[in-house]
């Protein structure tokens, strides 16, 4: 198990709608929390990686203005994007910058202010999320893509809408405790089942909501980490993979092949298996996405993810607690900030500082962050 790059600091803003802040101010707030308590001056950060999904940004090339506002100039800054997994990609880039020896301390800042554009503009962008040549002309959306996975999972394994609803019930129970979540109401199975159809079999409460927010992760080399932070959290495993954008070319419709491949790489690099993971954050943009993540990450065999939630094994106290901060379903999903927020939750758990409950003695945690409808798969394994 290699310990060569560590997360020394992790921060995020409240995720909300109508935050009353500009993008740069959101980023500053996340950066301030990430720097809190560290033996590190801003001028010792050697590079910054800025992450978001550009279709929601008004600012062209946001990296420059954010680096300026955070006092990170004249050090190099640049922008990365893999839609909803942008900040996990930022982590991978930061890891590579440090591992290569080019830099020893790197800040990864993810953000999205989805309320910057009108709902009309959002509907227009929604239509361009799939392949614009061959899918958009039919009126495809991201929820529709995931709904097609849900239908395929149901047809193959007999998965029931009630079982998907139980995932939302679990996540909403933790979201109710999360002061930084957009959606803080605890829902019942009946609430979810009675919610309006969005793109059947997915209903309103099977879907996460848009939000505004930012996250920040500070990475450091082995040599610097012990000096900067009391409890460095090591990046033990990294996995990343890409599947086709066009739905007709996907390898699999009952799971995400990009997530399976990313998980395989991350487990191999960390030298651990699914049974060694104490706590996980998975990309629950829709309830079906969490169900498939159970199987893609090896927490359950294919088709048996529903049993995991039926038996409440993904609650604290179960076999593998998942999304115990409320997940995207409760926190909301400010696209570019999401990966950093997931990483922050695992960092907190591994430090014994859980905010919505603590998995006692958690030593190894996992983050699963997906871009698009199963296009970009990212899995990160962290350890103390």
């Amino acid at each position: 198990m290699e310990k060569s790059v560590a997360i020394v600091g992790a921060g995020q803003t409240v995720f909300s709608r109508g935050c009353g802040q500009s993008v740069r101010e959101l980023c500053f707030e996340a950066f301030r929390e990430a720097m809190d308590g560290l033996n590190l001056k801003t001028e010792d950060i050697e590079a910054s990686v800025i992450c978001s999904a550009p279709e929601y940004d008004k600012q062209r090339s946001p990296a420059g203005v954010i680096a300026e506002y955070l006092n990170l100039v004249p050090k190099p800054t640049f922008y990365v994007e893999t839609i909803c997994s942008s900040s996990s990609t930022g982590l991978r880039v930061g890891y590579a910058l440090i591992k290569s020896g080019l830099h020893s301390v790197v800040a990864v800042v993810g953000f999205q202010k989805m309320s910057e554009i009108s709902s009309r503009e959002a509907a227009e962008r929604m239509g361009r999320g799939g392949d614009i040549m061959w899918e958009s002309p039919f009126g495809v959306t991201m929820p529709a893509g995931y709904a097609m996975y849900a239908r395929a999972h149901m047809a193959a394994y007999g998965t029931k809408p009630e079982q998907l609803a139980r995932i939302r019930v679990k996540n909403s129970s933790y979201g109710a405790l999360n002061a930084r979540a957009t959606f803080r109401k605890a829902l019942t199975e009946e609430d979810v089942m009675k919610s309006a159809a969005v793109t059947l079999p997915l209903k309103t409460y099977d879907c996460c909501a848009n939000a505004d927010g930012a996250s920040c992760i500070i990475l450091a080399s082995k040599e610097e980490a012990a000096r900067i932070a009391k409890v460095p959290i090591w990046v033990l495993g990294l996995g990343a993979a890409t599947d086709s954008t066009t739905l007709s070319n996907k390898k699999l419709y009952t799971g995400l092949s990009c997530a399976r491949e990313a998980a395989r790489q991350a487990y191999e690099m960390a030298g651990v298996g699914p049974e060694d993971i104490d706590v996980a954050e998975v990309h629950d943009c829709f309830t079906i996405a969490e169900m498939m993540a159970y199987e893609d990450l090896g927490f359950a065999r294919s088709g048996e993810g529903s049993r995991l939630i039926d038996e409440k094994q993904t609650y604290i106290g179960g076999k593998i607690p998942v999304n115990i901060d409320g997940g995207l379903l409760s926190k909301g999903h400010p696209i570019g900030a999401t990966g950093g927020s997931q990483l922050r939750t695992i960092v907190k758990q591994l430090r014994g500082q859980g905010e919505t409950g603590q998995v006692e003695g958690a030593k190894i945690g996992l983050v699963h962050n997906i871009g698009g409808v199963g296009i970009y798969g990212n899995v990160t394994i962290l350890g103390r």
């Binding site: 509907a123 239509g127 959306t141 529709a144 097609m148």
Partner: protein
Amino acid sequence: MGFEKFGAVSFTTETKTADFVTYLEKGQVVASRCKKCGRTYFPPRADCADDFSSEMEWQPVQGKGKLMTYTIVSYGPSGFENDTPYILALAEFPPGVRVFGRLDKGIPPEEIKVGMEVVVTPVTLAEGKLSYQFNKA
């Protein structure tokens, strides 16, 4: 030019595969096939990345396909607001050509089943635009 006629909302005008629309006008849905290696592509492509060839030919998607998955969309993106609810679907045709498109709205939801047999047929939309949909076989 010409590809903007494909679908209710289009984002692409120029492509080397624009003849796809010409075939729709003639009543056929086609895939593209690499003359060099024989690989069939849907969605159609002008270039085969397996062997860097651009020598492609058109091949009709025909026969009975199987419905792989579908969703009934209640909220559509811009340009589809008045079109909902509509059904998006994936179907596999012999010899393993997977096609994404619309399923006939007229089929009652309780009759739609994963695995059911479908055929693919060109359709004419408003303002002379062209598309295709899956119908019950």
